[in-house]
């Protein structure tokens, strides 16, 4: 019996999303996933699986959803499953019908492949597409970011945004000559005290070679 079969055996007449983690020692771990939709249930389920990954031999996430099979909308239990050691999980759609109040399943249909929830995921390893510098000086391999953010109240998101963007650029810019990045922050029309500007530049100091503030003339 496969882990998909074992997961389907746990699906009740009124399907509730759940995560099943099978372990090398002790019994399986099971969690019902109470969420407003199957996407959020799956996200919750993967967190549960990751939290129990240390001694897991395999896992299955089961959520109720609709699928289209040959143009026809069908009820299906979507099962994501993987065994320990595998880098990827297989996701299958198991169409079902209600027969005398119980669910009768058809054959699982391949749906997609995705990273296993048992393997820690570094989202930076995924393909996020291209990068577009605001300005780029090819001669010295220098990218310049220009931002105009609301900074009077909070700059935390700006710092996280720029630090993450710089890390992405580091991976994409040519290796030679060694890439550098700079940032111009437009604060015209805002009151951002000099001490906060110094602090902001310091928090970007390890990813930006230079941080410049574009100020109103009277503030210069």
């Amino acid at each position: 019996m496969s882990i998909v079969d074992r997961a389907l055996a746990l699906v009740g007449a009124d399907p509730i999303p759940f995560a099943l983690v099978e372990r090398s020692t002790g019994g399986p771990q099971y969690a019902s996933l109470m969420a407003t939709n199957s996407v959020r249930a799956s996200i919750m389920g993967r967190r549960f699986v990751a939290a129990h990954a240390a001694d897991a031999t395999g896992y299955a996430l089961a959520v109720d959803a609709f699928v289209r099979i040959e143009g026809e909308r069908r009820d299906a239990i979507i099962v994501e499953h993987a065994m320990a050691g595998a880098p990827t999980a297989e996701v299958v759609a198991c169409p079902y019908q209600r027969v005398d109040g119980a669910l009768s399943f058809g054959d699982p249909l391949p749906y997609r492949i995705r990273p296993s929830a048992l393997v820690p995921l570094d989202p930076n390893t995924l393909d996020w597409g291209v990068i577009t510098p605001d300005f780029y000086a090819a001669g010295d391999n220098r990218a310049i970011h220009v931002v105009n953010h609301a900074l009077e109240v909070d700059d935390t998101r700006t710092v996280r945004f720029l630090r993450a963007r710089a890390r992405v650029f580091d991976r994409h810019l040519p290796a030679s000559p060694p890439p550098t990045q700079e940032c111009t922050i437009d604060i015209r029309g805002q009151h951002v005290p000099a001490s906060r500007q110094v602090d902001l530049a310091a928090r970007l100091g390890d990813v930006m070679a230079k941080v410049t503030f574009l100020r109103d003339e009277e503030d210069n």
């Binding site: 996407v39 996200i43 995924l126 393909d127 597409g129 577009t132 605001d134 609301a150 009077e152 993450a164």
Partner: protein
């Protein structure tokens, strides 16, 4: 200059990276660590597509985010994006 958003919440990075391939009007990248919640950064650029194209792409993408229950912050205004009219205002700035 791009117009920048930060999306925070319980995110499925795998699905979002896949959706990024269809969001032609923007650069997208993950934001993890640095003492905050899981997030993605989105830099919207006017030179990649038309206003109508960007509107369609953003609405479709934001619908994906809504299903995840994510919160979208417009870094230019400092306010969350909650309504379709917020997208229209954002795009008006990008394509002005």
């Amino acid at each position: 200059m791009s117009y920048d958003l930060v999306v925070e919440g319980d995110l499925d990075f795998v699905d979002l990276a896949s959706a990024a391939q269809d969001l032609i009007c923007a650069d997208m990248f993950p934001i993890v660590g640095d003492g905050g919640p899981d997030a993605i950064g989105i830099a919207i650029l006017s030179k990649r597509t038309t206003l109508d194209g960007a509107r369609d792409q953003l609405r479709a993408f934001l619908a994906t985010l809504e299903v995840m229950g994510a919160t979208i912050h417009d870094l230019y205004t400092g306010s969350p994006i909650e309504h379709e009219s917020d997208i229209d205002e954002l795009l008006a700035r990008v394509f002005e």
